[in-house]
Structures are given as structure tokens and as C-alpha cells.
């Protein structure tokens, strides 16, 4: 697997949202590791806490409402869990960066592309204006944007969605970050553009030997891009393994359900399989396993006790079906 030093280590992360209705445990004990140079896919349906996890890592949680209340986050060996904002800023856009789902609204409409792209360089380097401009042109060209020199002086509304996402990617890559977090980068784009963007990201990954945390609900993207996969449900990690293992031998009933519900292009007839029930509301989390209400293999125990994350030979899995097979990785 190459370099074994972890770029990102999240241990038992707990992120809670406080509101008038009470406390919502959006992230309820998540473990996640990303090694240098690898791509980890973070998979799950909406509401499972994957975006909140990434925002917690970047320190971009909406301030009074949300906070990290437990666990640790280590970046390149350094504890950044409760790092003061000033120092967090030095990391953002510099050593770790993030791209978001909606390219249409992620760029400020009243400033030019160039003005916005110059920010990471202005904040984290001491290059001159001319050098900054050169770098931007270079970066834009490398992501496949034609007329890069002109684009810099144009406004976001003059570009298409695909181009804007490329700009966002360039923005994130300018300072050559060690870790790129991509939150559903292609979901809002047309299918053909999706393919192009994914291809682009693959090339960047190879060239820069950059680590990437790719958040998605699309297993097809996972298959194409990721080295390892982490599956989340109800604010917790339920399964984690290398990508082949996940597809060949999924252990957790939820993962199995996800894979089964992928429409197979070769089978035209028959029903589309789906997982019965729906994702629990974040404030409805009960006592036992969060997936138990929808699980076809649920046992009595599943409804009362939360299963621990168990380390199996090829993967980790949070399910009572496998507890007792090997040592318990975490007691929660």
C-alpha cells in the first residue's frame, strides 16, 4: 500500500448540534484513517453524518450551533481537534483543502475568478502578484480549462457548471495540499461532465501523490476512484475495508443492502431491490444498533445493545453477527 504514515486520523469523533429541540448527535463515534497518497471513500445516505465529519475535520462547523464534543482529529501527526481558529486557518487551503457539492453557488458572484483563486496563494505564500497570476494560469491549464488567462478576469456566472467545478478543484490544489476532502464533487453535474471531473481527479491524485477523502453516496464513483471504503450509517462507521473487499465480500447488512440496490444494467426485468424503511432522523437514535429497525438479519440483541466495531481479517464491521469472531476493535 505504499507509505503507511497516516495523514488523517479521526478517533471516536463526536460532533453534536445544539438547537431549540435538543441535542442532535450528528457524528456519534466515528473512526477514520487516511494514509498518505491513498483515496478513501466515505459512503452513506444523506443524513448519516459524512458531511459533518468532513466539516469537523476542516473546522468549518457552523459556530454556535455545532461543536466537537468528543474524540480526536490528528492531521499529519498533529492534534487539531480544538485548534484555535488562527492556526486552523493556516492549514485550510494550504495543507488540507476541501471542495463542495454545488459549484454553481460556491463561487462569489461579484468577484472575478482570479480574485477568488488568488486567496489561498495570498494567505499562505508570499508570492508577488505576477507570480500568483502565473501560478493560477498554470493551475487552470492543468485542469483542462482553455483560455486560462482570460477566465481569470471573468465572473463565475460566465462559466458553465463543469468549468466552475474545475475552478474549484484548482482553487483547492493551488497550495498542493496533503489532503483533499471532496464532498460529493460530481453529484450536481451532468453525467458526461461527471466522468471528466472524475478523470481529472484521478490524474491529479497520481501526479501529486495526494491523499483524498472522497465523500459520496454513489457506489459507482467509489468503485472507480477509491482504494479503501468507509461506510457510515446513523452517525457511525458500520464497515471499513479495501474497495475490492467491500464489493466482493460485504459483511454488514447495510453495505450488503447498498450493493444489492445498485441497479444492474444487465438485468432489465425484476424489481429494484431497496432497503426497507428510511434513514432515522438524527434525534431518533435509539438504544441498540442504529440499523436494526431496517435489518433483515436483526437479532434480539441488536435492539438493545450497540454493537462494537469489530476488526475482522479483511475489514472492520460494526455488527453483532461478527462479534466474538475476533477481538473487539472498540468497545463502543
Amino acid at each position: 500500500m505504499g507509505n503507511r504514515s497516516p495523514i488523517l486520523e479521526v478517533r471516536q469523533l463526536q460532533t453534536h448540534f445544539r438547537s431549540g429541540h435538543g441535542v442532535v448527535k450528528a457524528v456519534n463515534g466515528v473512526d477514520l484513517t487516511v494514509y498518505a497518497g491513498e483515496t478513501v471513500g466515505l459512503v452513506g445516505e444523506s443524513g448519516c453524518g459524512k458531511s459533518v465529519t468532513s466539516l469537523s475535520v476542516m473546522g468549518l462547523l457552523p459556530k454556535p450551533a455545532a461543536a466537537i464534543v468528543g474524540g480526536t482529529i490528528h492531521f499529519a501527526g498533529r492534534d487539531i481537534t480544538h485548534l484555535p481558529e488562527k492556526q486552523m486557518r493556516k492549514l485550510r487551503g494550504n495543507e488540507m483543502s476541501m471542495i463542495f457539492q454545488e459549484p454553481m453557488t460556491s463561487l462569489n458572484p461579484v468577484f472575478t475568478i482570479g480574485q477568488q483563486m488568488a486567496e489561498p496563494l495570498r494567505q499562505h505564500t508570499s508570492l508577488t502578484k505576477r507570480q500568483i497570476r502565473e501560478k493560477m494560469v498554470e493551475m487552470l491549464q492543468s485542469v483542462g480549462i482553455p483560455r486560462a488567462g482570460q477566465i481569470i478576469d471573468e465572473y463565475p456566472h460566465q462559466l458553465s457548471g463543469g468549468m466552475r467545478q474545475r475552478v474549484m478543484i484548482s482553487l483547492a490544489m493551488l497550495c498542493q495540499p496533503k489532503l483533499l476532502i471532496a464532498d460529493e464533487p460530481t453529484t450536481a453535474l451532468d453525467v458526461t461532465i461527471q466522468a471528466q471531473i472524475l478523470q481529472l481527479m484521478k490524474e491529479i491524485k497520481q501526479k501529486q501523490q495526494m491523499a483524498m477523502l472522497l465523500i459520496t453516496h454513489d457506489l459507482g464513483v467509489v468503485a472507480e476512484m477509491c482504494d479503501r471504503v468507509v461506510v457510515m450509517y446513523g452517525g457511525q462507521v458500520v464497515e471499513s475495508a479495501e474497495v475490492r473487499t467491500i464489493f466482493d465480500q460485504p459483511r454488514h447488512p447495510y453495505t450488503q443492502g447498498l450493493l444489492a440496490s445498485m441497479p444492474n444494467a444487465n438485468e432489465r426485468k425484476g424489481e429494484l431491490k431497496s432497503i426497507p424503511g428510511s434513514v432515522p432522523r438524527p434525534d431518533e437514535v435509539g438504544q441498540g444498533c442504529t440499523f436494526a429497525p431496517r435489518c433483515s438479519q436483526a437479532m434480539e440483541r441488536c435492539r438493545h445493545d450497540r454493537p462494537p466495531l469489530v476488526a475482522l481479517p479483511r475489514q472492520s464491521c460494526r455488527c453483532w453477527l461478527y462479534a466474538g469472531e475476533e477481538e473487539v476493535a472498540h468497545a463502543t
Binding site: V24, A26, S46, G47, L55, P62, A65, P282, E284
Partner: protein, 303 residues
Amino acid sequence: MNQSTLTEAAVNPRPASLSRKREPAWRTYMRRLVKSPTGLAGFLIIFVVVILGIFGPWLAPYDPNQAEFAKKLLPPLTDGHLLGTDQLGRDIFSRLIHGTSVSLIIGSCTVLFAGLIGTILGVVAGYFRGWADIIIMRIVDVKLSFPFILLVLVINAVIGAGLQNIIISLVFAGWIVYARVVRSEVLALREKEFILSCVATGVPRWEIIVKHIVPNLFTPIIVLSSLQIATYIIAEASISFLGFGVQPPQPAWGNMLSEGKDYIFSAWWLITFPGVAIVMTALGVNLFGDWLRDVLDPELKGH
């Protein structure tokens, strides 16, 4: 899209009360009203004003027009006059109460007529488009090119003063806002699918308008009215202050202030209490209107 969509999903799950039986709508509103301190305050103020306006004239201790020169310019709390007397010896408190009725009548009548005219014209312009729309919108543009108060003032000066005429003047200048808002709402509604499907199934135009479009207009009209009432009350007071509008000796807050301003050096109470009345009423209306707007349509930006 907003970052808050993420937070919203996490933080505002739909209430579990969906599983309970639905309570009557008005009770939901009452509950929400009690929870909001500003909305409640506004409602209470309006309540007091309305009660005073309707029943006040019977409860007023003195005849508002009874002038007693011997008792002129008495400070508040002397001789049975709660708020003192004015330059003709008339009890200010009683005059204030009668003024409340005047403001109430003016405010409500104006909203009613301006709203009615404005809505009808707005619907015609927005739904039928074509020449009607062009003509009506040009008129609206022209009216908008004059400041509201100025327009009311000039109209009132031309047609003469008095309670009736001030209402007419206010309505003349005030229907525009309604027409504009209603028109843009109708324009948006027209394109909505439920209307298009009515058209496609051959529902007659009048039925579409009355049964489908108008009910959707209630919310914006109510919200708009809540904003406009305060404007009308203040406009009337201003115009009466300037010498038009409601004429003395009929008590109205505006002309009480106009008469009182000559005594600013000696009798501060003449200008204080009518002014406070205006401010309190406008405040109450605005507070309640804000709450109403939040409840009925939280999407609207606070203007």
C-alpha cells in the same frame, strides 16, 4: 443552496406531533403568539388601541370638545385631568381617546379600500396581461415617481380636508403598493403547475381566478397590510399636522400635535402624549406585523 441546509436537516426535524391529531389552526397560531414576546406585545397594543377606539368615546371622562378657558394648559394629573388640558381647556386624555377612533377608522378604511382596488387591478394586470397590464403598470410607475406623502398631501389639498377626504387621498395613493405586490404574485402563480393543469382541463378563467389564485393571495395581502397600516396612520398624522387632513376641532393625533407645537416652550404635555400614542400604535402594528410575517411566510426577508 445554503450551508444551512445541512444544519437544518440535523437541527430541525419535523415535529413528532405529526403523529398526533391535528389541533385547530387558530390554536396553533395562538400558541405561537404567546411564545413570541414581541409578537405578543404587538398584539396586546393593537388590542388596547382597538378597544379604546371602539368603546373609548363612551368611557372618556370628559367631552373632547368642551372648552373651559379657566382650566387651560393644566399639567397632567391636576384637577382630575389625567394628561392635562390643552390651550382651550379641553381634556387631553379624552381627546386622545377620540383621536384613537379617528386613527382606527382611517387606518382600517384605507387598508380595506386600497387593498381591494389594488388587488383587483393587480389581478387583472397580472393574469390578463396585454393592454390592461401595460396601462396599469404605467399608472403605477407614475404614481411611484412621487413620494407617497407628497401625493397624499397634494390630493388632499385639492379635494379639501376632512375625515372622508383624507381616506380618499390615502386610498388614491395607497392602492399602488397592493397592485404591484399582487401583480407579481399572480405572475408567479400563473406559471405554477396546478394552475396550468386547470387551464389544460378547461376550467373557466373566472373560476381559476376566484377559486385558485385569490386564496393564495391572502397571505401576501395580509402581510402587506400589516406593514401599510402603520404607514397610513403616520401619514395621516403628518398631513393633519401640516394643516390638512382631519381638521380641528375634531380631535386627531395629528392636529393635536399641530396645535400643541406652539406651546412647546410652556406646556410639554401637549405634544408628548399624542406623539406617544402614534408611536405606540405604529410600534404595536409593526411588531405584530413582523410576527405575522414570520409565521405566515418565513421565507420573506425582513424589510
